[in-house]
Amino acid sequence: MSNISRSSRQRSESTRISDDQIVQLVSKLRQLVPEIRTRRSNKVSASKVLQETCNYIKNLHREVDDLSERLAQLLSTIDADSAEAAIIRSLLSN
């Protein structure tokens, strides 16, 4: 696994994700998602972080899909223009 140490990156390409960005990604992800486990050490595996991020986004997509399906079942019994929709809106805005 690649270590984030500047000496090993002799050949720095501008098209690659920089170390700083990986560190930023890790710290932000830790804030957002406590479940994401990254190695508790100074060395952070950049590719592992990317992998975790990808998995997390895939999970989020799946969740959106699942919720859309449930709503499709539920909302078929509610007319969008009816009073119930107004009630839902007011419930959610509080």
């Binding site: 696994m1 690649s2 090993s8 050949r11 390409e13 501008s14 098209t15 690659r16 994700i17 920089s18 960005q21 990986i22 930023q24 990604l25 932000k28 992800l29 957002l32 950049a46 590719s47 990317l50 992998q51 991020t53 990808c54 997390y56 986004i57 895939k58 989020l60 997509h61 969740e63 959106v64 899909d65 919720l67 859309s68 399906e69 449930r70 709503l71 499709a72 079942q73 539920l74 909302l75 078929s76 019994t77 509610i78 007319d79 969008a80 223009d81 119930e84 929709a85 009630i87 839902i88 809106r89 419930l91 959610l92 805005s93």
Partner: protein
């Protein structure tokens, strides 16, 4: 950090507007059509809350404008240009990928090569997951990813609320 509750409210408002349009346009939708409409209007509503400040949201809107069957003019211009533009850029980026250089120290370079290849592979994977990610340069990829993740989380939270509220309305027990 943007104000999360106002973002969620804006998302909800726009989402319901979109849903209304669908229900006016098409009566008697199949389950699959309804699900697709709900998901699409949710995605578009969330993307529009970003107000063109992020690339993923612009790409999402551009890519999906063809699919939206709104009750507006039937001669709406298809946004093929932007999607073909991103496709061309993808081809360009593929062609311009740097070739690997073999160094004298074979063991170290092979480890470095493997690590580099892994990074490239996973960066590509991330780009495929992000709307419009293929044509993004790595410089903005991380910021876009974080914004996209936060937006998805907000979207999911609001959708969950709606599921709960709908369940309560249907079964008020």
């Amino acid at each position: 950090m943007r104000n999360q509750s106002s973002v969620k409210q804006e998302f909800l408002r726009k989402w319901i507007t979109g849903l209304r349009r669908y229900s006016c346009e098409k009566k008697n939708m199949s389950f699959f059509e309804r699900k697709k409409a709900i998901k699409l209007s949710a995605d578009l509503a969330m993307a529009s809350t970003r107000d063109k400040t992020t690339r993923w949201s612009q790409a999402l809107i551009a890519n999906n404008t063809d699919n939206v069957f709104i009750a507006s003019s039937s001669s709406s211009s298809p946004k093929k240009s932007s999607s073909s533009r991103s496709r061309n850029m993808t081809t360009l980026m593929r062609r311009s990928r740097p070739t690997r250089v073999k160094s004298a120290k074979k063991e170290m370079s092979s480890a470095r090569c493997i690590a580099k290849r892994l990074m490239e592979k996973r960066t590509r994977k991330l780009k495929n997951l992000l709307p419009g990610g293929e044509s993004m340069d790595e410089g903005c990829l991380v910021a876009e990813t974080l914004d996209y993740i936060q937006s998805l989380r907000d979207q999911i939270e609001v959708m969950r609320c709606l599921v709960t509220a709908s369940q309560l309305i249907i079964n008020p027990s």
